[in-house]
C-alpha cells in the first residue's frame, strides 16, 4: 500500500481537526464555536476508529463464518468519547441559553464588550 492511501485517513483527520479548531477560535458566535468543537472531537473519533480497522476484517461480533475482526477496543473507547462529547455539548448549550438571557447576545465580542 502506498504512503498516500495508507495514511490518507489520518491526513483527513488532521484536516478535520484543524477545521474544527479553526471554527472554535475564528468564529465569534458561541453556537458556531460549539459546532466547531464537535467537529474537532469527531475528527478524533474518526482517528480512533481508523486505527481499529483491519483490512479484510469485519464488525467485531462473533460469528462462526468470520475469522478476521476489526479491533473492538477503539470502538468501545469512542462510544464513551461520543457520550462525553454530547454531554459537553448539552452543558455548553445550556450555558449559551443562560448567556443569551443575561447578556442578550451570543457573540463573543458583544459579551467581552459588556463586561469591560
Amino acid at each position: 500500500m502506498s504512503l498516500m492511501s495508507g495514511l490518507f485517513n489520518y491526513w483527513a483527520v488532521a484536516a478535520l481537526l484543524l477545521i474544527g479548531l479553526g471554527i472554535v477560535v475564528w468564529q465569534g458566535n458561541l453556537i458556531k464555536k460549539l459546532v466547531g468543537l464537535s467537529i474537532f472531537q469527531t475528527a478524533v473519533f474518526i482517528f480512533y476508529i481508523s486505527v481499529g480497522k483491519v483490512a479484510g476484517g469485519t464488525a467485531p461480533i462473533l460469528d462462526d463464518s468470520y475469522s478476521q475482526y476489526s479491533n473492538p477496543l477503539p470502538h468501545v473507547l469512542i462510544l464513551t468519547a461520543i457520550v462525553v462529547g454530547i454531554a459537553t455539548t448539552a452543558l455548553a448549550l445550556a450555558l449559551v441559553i443562560r448567556i443569551k438571557a443575561s447578556y442578550g447576545s451570543v457573540e463573543e465580542s458583544d459579551i467581552n464588550g459588556q463586561d469591560k
Binding site: 468543537l37 478524533v44 482517528f47 477496543l73 459537553t88 452543558l91 455548553a92 449559551v96
Partner: protein
C-alpha cells in the same frame, strides 16, 4: 473490605452524588455530602497507610487483569495525591454549609453539592487510575462538574467564564485524547505501566513524540501553565467563592500530578531525549510563569483575581521542580503541591468568609478590615506569609527544597527566579494587607455591612484548620517531607 479501599476511594463519592441528587433539600444534601467526603478522606488515609506499609497496590477492576481490564494502581504518589484532594475536598465542603453559599441561588444549592461530589470523584479518579483512557473519562467528569460549579455564581460573568473554560478545557481534554490515541496506536495498550514498558522500544517514533506533545499541551491547558493560563483568572474570579477555594486547592494539583505521571512514569527522561527537551521547556515556562504571573498579580485590584494570578505563579514553581527533574526538585514539586493546596485553600476560604460577612470582596469595602474582623485578618496574614514563604510556614519548606535543588544544579538563575517570585509574592500579599490594615477616613465608620449573615461555625473551623495547618506543616514537616521524598525516589527510580 480493606483490600477494596482503592476502588471505594472513588466509588464512594461517585455513588454518593446521585444519592445526594435525590435528597432535594439543601441542608440535608450538605450533611450527606459532608459525611461522604469525610468517609472519602478517611479512606484515603487508610490507603496511604496501606501503601506506606506494604508498597503499591494494584486493583483489577471487574477482576480483569491489566492490561485487558482497567487497573487502579496506587503507589505512594497516588496515595499522596488522593490524600491531598480528599482532605481538601472534605475541608472546603465543611465550610460550604448551605447558608454560606450566598453567591448561589437558593434553588440551585442542592445541585452544588451534587456537582461538588462529582468533581471530587472525578479528581480522585484521575489520581487513582492506572489506565490512560480512564484518565480521560474521569477528567471529563471533573471538568463538566467544574464548569457547572463555576457557572453557579449569580454573577453573569461566571457564565461567560465557565463557557470559555469549557471551550479551553474540552480542547485540552481532546488533545489528551489524541495523545492517548497515538500511544494506543503505537503500543496496543492503554495501561500506564504497560505503556512504560513498551514505549522505550519505539522511543524515536514520530507518533510517540507527537503523543507526548499533545498530552503535555492538553494537560498544560488544564494546568493553566503559562502561556495557556488565560482561562484560570476569569474562572477563579467569577466562580462562587467556595468553589474557587476548592478548585485552587485541588484541580490544578491533579493536573500537576498528571504531568509528573506522564513525564516520569509513562515517558521517562532516561530513555527519551524528547522528554529532556520537554523538561527544559517546562523549566523555562515555569520560570516565566513565576515572574510574569506574580508581576500581573501585583497590578490586580480584585483580590480574588490577584490570588488567581498568584496561583498561576505558584503552579510555575511546581512545574519548575518538574523541569529540573532531579530527586530534590521533584520532591520540592510534590511538597509544593501539598503546601500550596493548604495556603490557597486557606486564603480563598478567608476571602469567602470576608465576602459572606461583608457581601463583597471589592477593595473599596475592605479598607480597615483589620479593625472590623481582626481574627479573619490575621488568618489572611498567616496564609499570605505562607504564600511568601516565611520561615515556620508551609510555604517556606517547599521554597527551601526548590532553592536547594536549583543550587544543586548550580543554576543561579533559577535560584534568583524562585527568590524573586517570593519577593513579588511579598509585594502582592502586602498590597492586600495594607488595604485591610489602613482605615480609610471615608469608610471607617461604615459598618452597615456587618448586618450580613453570620459566618457558619463550620466555615470558621475549616478556615482555621487550613490556616493552622499552614503553620503546623511549616514546623512539623515529617508527613509531607517523608511522603514526597518517597514519591521522588519512586519517580527517579522509574526514570
Amino acid at each position: 473490605m480493606f483490600s477494596h479501599l482503592a476502588i471505594l476511594q472513588v466509588v464512594v463519592p461517585l455513588m454518593g452524588a446521585p444519592a445526594c441528587f435525590m435528597l432535594g433539600k439543601a441542608r440535608l444534601t450538605w450533611l450527606m455530602s459532608l459525611l461522604i467526603s469525610v468517609v472519602t478522606c478517611a479512606i484515603s488515609i487508610g490507603l496511604l497507610l496501606q501503601v506506606y506499609q506494604q508498597g503499591p497496590i494494584s486493583y483489577a477492576l471487574g477482576g480483569w487483569q491489566a492490561p485487558w481490564g482497567i487497573e487502579y494502581r496506587i503507589d505512594i504518589i497516588n496515595a499522596y495525591m488522593l490524600l491531598i484532594v480528599s482532605a481538601m475536598g472534605a475541608l472546603v465542603l465543611l465550610a460550604a454549609k448551605d447558608t454560606a453559599l450566598t453567591d448561589i441561588d437558593e434553588h440551585r444549592r442542592p445541585l452544588f453539592y451534587v456537582a461538588y461530589l462529582l468533581c471530587l470523584a472525578g479528581l480522585l479518579g484521575i489520581a487513582a487510575t492506572g489506565d490512560a483512557f480512564n484518565v480521560f473519562v474521569f477528567l471529563e467528569i471533573s471538568s463538566l462538574s467544574m464548569y457547572c460549579l463555576i457557572a453557579l455564581n449569580k454573577d453573569r460573568r461566571a457564565l461567560w467564564a465557565a463557557f470559555r473554560y469549557l471551550i479551553v478545557g474540552t480542547i485540552g481534554a481532546t488533545f489528551i485524547l489524541i495523545g492517548i490515541g497515538y500511544l494506543y496506536m503505537m503500543t496496543g495498550t492503554l495501561n500506564m505501566q504497560d505503556l512504560a514498558q513498551r514505549l522505550p522500544a519505539i522511543a524515536d517514533n514520530n507518533a510517540v513524540i507527537s503523543a507526548y506533545a499533545f498530552i503535555m499541551v492538553g494537560v498544560g491547558l488544564k494546568l493553566a501553565l503559562f502561556p495557556l493560563h488565560y482561562w484560570l483568572p476569569n474562572a477563579y474570579t467569577h466562580a462562587p467563592n467556595l468553589v474557587t477555594a476548592f478548585l485552587a486547592a485541588t484541580a490544578t494539583k491533579v493536573a500537576v500530578y498528571l504531568v509528573i505521571r506522564f513525564n516520569f512514569f509513562v515517558f521517562s527522561p532516561s530513555w527519551a531525549d524528547f522528554i529532556q527537551l520537554g523538561n527544559h521547556v517546562l523549566l523555562i515556562l515555569g520560570s516565566v510563569a513565576v515572574l510574569w504571573a506574580s508581576w500581573i498579580a501585583i497590578r490586580q485590584t480584585d483580590i480574588k483575581r490577584l490570588l488567581a494570578y498568584s496561583s498561576v505563579a505558584q503552579i510555575g514553581y511546581m512545574v519548575m521542580g518538574i523541569g529540573m527533574s532531579s530527586l530534590l526538585s521533584l520532591q520540592a514539586s510534590l511538597l509544593h503541591l501539598f503546601n500550596h493546596a493548604l495556603m490557597k485553600g486557606g486564603l480563598f476560604l478567608v476571602l469567602a468568609t470576608i465576602a459572606l460577612r461583608l457581601g463583597s470582596v471589592d477593595t473599596s469595602q475592605l479598607r480597615g478590615l483589620a479593625q472590623r474582623m481582626p481574627l479573619t485578618f490575621w488568618a489572611f496574614v498567616i496564609g499570605g506569609l505562607s504564600l511568601i514563604g516565611m520561615p515556620a510556614t508551609a510555604g517556606f519548606i517547599s521554597k527551601w527544597y526548590l532553592v536547594q535543588a536549583a543550587i544543586e544544579q548550580q543554576s543561579w538563575l533559577l535560584v534568583a527566579v524562585v527568590l524573586a517570585g517570593s519577593a513579588l509574592a511579598a509585594i502582592y500579599v502586602w498590597k492586600v494587607v495594607e488595604v485591610f490594615w489602613f482605615t480609610d477616613k471615608n469608610t471607617a465608620s461604615n459598618t452597615r455591612h456587618l448586618s450580613q449573615p453570620q459566618v457558619p461555625v463550620t466555615m470558621s473551623i475549616a478556615m482555621w484548620l487550613l490556616i493552622i495547618a499552614n503553620v503546623y506543616f511549616g514546623i512539623d514537616t515529617r508527613l509531607p517531607v517523608t511522603l514526597s521524598e518517597m514519591g521522588a525516589q519512586l519517580l527517579s527510580g522509574a526514570s
